[in-house]
């Protein structure tokens, strides 16, 4: 962690303090940080000694008589109205998007599976068709069948190669997005 991020995190955890007081706290740490740098300590050493922004915020807030839990709570308790509002918001916006994403995942997955099917069919055709027609076809005919089968197999493999990663990206991406959107919102 850099000093900048450390400070940002501390500031966020001190949001319950009035603006001037919060600035005073940040100035205080910045001053000591500067003094320690001058004394020859490294950024990592100094931040290690400061401790995590959470710990510092807890101590500072406790000193100000503010219950740290209030400021530390990541997911402020929502009012019933806000929960109902968010429910409808997700019904209107997020749900349709989730359905679209899910359909995409299913489509891509189906295409991946069909790619495997086509490739297998190509192999079977390339081997089976010439075997079945031995005697009734010229050498050129047999090679034509063989070629068609291999081409089919190639198309199948291409489909598989293209849609397997796509399926994974979309599925994982959707999952992560939804998890982010709903992280602790309703629980």
């Amino acid at each position: 962690m850099t000093q900048k991020t450390w400070e940002k995190q501390l500031s966020r955890r001190l949001k319950d303090l009035p603006k001037t007081e919060r600035k005073q706290v940040l100035d205080y740490y910045r001053e000591i940080y500067g003094d320690k740098l001058e004394a020859g300590f490294s950024e990592t050493e100094i931040l290690d000694e400061f401790g995590s922004p959470e710990e510092c915020a807890t101590r500072i807030l406790a000193g100000e008589g503010i219950t740290p839990t209030k400021a530390e709570r990541k997911n402020p308790r929502l009012s019933p109205a806000a929960i109902v509002g968010m429910f409808f918001l997700s019904l209107i916006f997020i749900l349709p998007l989730a359905i679209v994403a899910l359909s995409l995942v299913i489509t891509f997955f189906a295409l991946t599976v069909s790619g495997v099917g086509i490739a297998l069919a190509g192999v079977v055709y390339a081997i089976g068709a010439p075997l079945l027609s031995i005697g009734s076809l010229s050498a050129a005919g047999i090679f034509a069948h063989l070629g068609f089968g291999l081409a089919l197999c190639g198309v199948g493999l291409l489909l598989f190669a293209a849609f397997k990663p796509l399926t994974e990206y979309v599925a994982i991406g959707t999952g992560k997005t939804l998890a982010f959107l709903y992280k602790g919102r309703f629980f």
Partner: protein, 104 residues
Amino acid sequence: MDAQLKKGLLEVCVLSAIRKEESYGYKIISDLAPYIEISESTLYPILRRLEQSGAVKTRCTEHNGRLRRYFKLTPTGLRKIEEFIETIDEFERISKFILQGERE
């Protein structure tokens, strides 16, 4: 050490650290470090409390292009130190009593 006791001791320690001359955050911590455990996050609330109770006065000056806040002892702060010194005798008598119980 008991938290309440330490809190009281730390206040007097900080006041003593600025008794001779005004001082600033990092120097106070460095000066106290050999005697009592104190972190930046512990010092801040103490300084604020002392300032609010009028035991210290502060001023900001520039140092190497950045701000540094100096803390200076006030007469109220000095009285606090003296009050503590007066209670040391009492402490000694009490600790003698406690240690006696330990030996018996």
